[in-house]
Symmetry: D2
Subunit: 140 residues, 4 copies
C-alpha cells in the first residue's frame, strides 16, 4: 500500500500560454502543490523537515504530457510516495483533467536531504524521517 | 538630468497567456530586469546593497498598459531613476514594443531600505546610498 | 453596498524569493485568483465574458505592499468591485496574511472591454454587462 | 556532428526561491530559452514552424539537478539537437553555472508535431522539417 494524496484545482489564467493551454513548465508547480498537500496530510511538510535541519531539493524531475489542460478546466493531482531505501524522497504524480476525464500528465520527482547548516548531502536517511516512515507503516 | 538604462529583450513563450500576448503580471519581471541592468550600469546592484546591510523591497508598483506584446516580438525597457529626498528608491519604467514601435507599458516602483539584520525600516537614507548619489551627480 | 468575494490560500514555495518571502510580482497572480473567484461567485467569469465576445485585459494595476508573506503562511484575498459608469471593470484587492493578522497588500486593477473579433476597444459598456449589473443591483 | 547553440544569462531575482537559489521549475524556462536561441540560429523558430502549420508541444521533459545557481550568478545554456528518425524534435540541455564553473543541470525534452488546424498528432515528419534537416546536413 502506498501513501497517496489527491487535490483538485482550477487552472490559473496566468498559467496558460499562447497555445491556449497550460504552459508545460507549470506542471512542476502542480507537482509541488501535490507534494505540499501530501506533507500536510501526513505530517511531513517542508517546514517540518526544515525545522529538523534539512532542505529537500529536487534532484530529478520527469514529466510526461498526455493531453492539454485549457483555461477554465479543473484538474486533480494524485501524489503517491514511492518507498525508497536510499536517503531520498520519491513521489509519483498524476494530473487528471477533470473536465475531459483524461490523464493530462504523469511524472516523478526525486528529492534528497541537505543539511540546512552545511548544505552538504546526507548519505543516510535522517532519523526523523525513518521514524516518520515507521509511524506511517512504510516497510522499506 | 536623470540616470537611465536601456535594455532589449525577446519575449519568452512562457510569458504569454491564452490571449496570445504577454500576461500582464510579467511586466513586473521586465521592470525588475530593467532595475537590475540599471544597477549593473551604475554600480548599485541588489547584491551591492545587500552587502551594505540592506534589502530594498518594493512597497508600491504601478503599471499602465498601453498596447500588447505578442510572442516573437522584441521589446525595450527604459529604466529611469527619479531622484528622491526620502529614504526611497524610485524608478520609472517604459516598455517599448520594438516590433510595432508602440509604447507597451509605463510604470513606477518605489523601494525602501530594510536592515538585513533586523528587517526594520530605515527612516534615513543610508550613508552608502547618499555617497553613491553624490558620486553620480544626483542633486536631490 | 459593494459586491465582494473572499478566498483563502496557502503560499506556494515557488512563489517565494531569495528574501524568503513571496516575490512582489506574484501579488498580481493573487489579484487574478481573487478576480476569478469573484467571477465564479457572481456569474461573470472570464469565459462567460469571452463567450459574449469580449476580452477584458488589465490596463492599470496598482499594488501597495504593507507586510510580507512567508512561505508556510496562509493568506486571504478580498476582492471588491468598484462600480463604474465607464466601460470598465474596476476591482479593489486586499491581501491579508492570516498567519500574522496583518494586511499584506492592497491594490486595484482596471480592465477594459476589447472585441474578441476585432481586438478594438469598446467605448460603451456592452449590453450583457449592463444587464449583469442590473441583476446584481449595482446602481451606477 | 550535432547542431548546438550556447547562450549566457543572468539569473532573475524573481527566479529564486526561499532557499536562496533558482527554483527548480525555472530550469524549464532556461531550456525554452535555449531552444528559442537554437531556432533563431538555425532558422527553425517556433513561429517559423507555426507558419508551416504546426505546433510543437513538449511531450516529455527530464531535468537532472547537479548544483544550485544563486541569485547574482551567471549561467550558460548549451542546447544540442539529438537527431531522430521519428516525427519528433529532441533537444538535450546543459546548464553551466559560470560563476562556479559547475554543471548546474542537464536535461532533455521531446516535442511532437501537432497540426495547428486540427490539433491532431502528425505521425510522419512534416516535409518542411525534412527539408530543414537536409539543409542542415542532419543525416538521420
Amino acid at each position: 500500500m502506498s501513501l497517496k494524496t489527491e487535490i483538485e484545482f482550477d487552472v490559473r489564467f496566468s498559467e496558460t500560454d499562447a497555445m491556449g493551454v497550460v504552459w508545460h513548465g507549470n506542471y512542476l508547480k502542480f507537482f509541488e502543490d501535490g507534494r505540499e498537500a501530501f506533507g500536510k496530510q501526513y505530517g511531513i511538510e517542508y517546514l517540518d523537515i526544515y525545522h529538523k535541519g534539512f532542505f529537500t531539493p529536487i534532484v530529478k524531475s520527469v514529466i510526461n504530457h498526455k493531453s492539454p489542460i485549457n483555461y477554465g478546466e479543473r484538474a486533480k493531482i494524485i501524489t503517491t510516495m514511492i518507498p525508497s531505501k536510499a536517503a531520498k524522497i520519491i513521489f509519483q504524480y498524476e494530473i487528471i483533467n477533470l473536465s475531459t476525464g483524461k490523464v493530462s500528465a504523469t511524472g516523478q520527482a526525486i528529492q534528497i536531504f541537505l543539511s540546512v547548516e552545511t548544505r552538504a548531502l546526507e548519505l543516510l536517511t535522517p532519523d526523523f524521517y525513518e521514524d516518520w516512515k515507521k509511524k506511517m507503516g512504510i516497510k522499506i
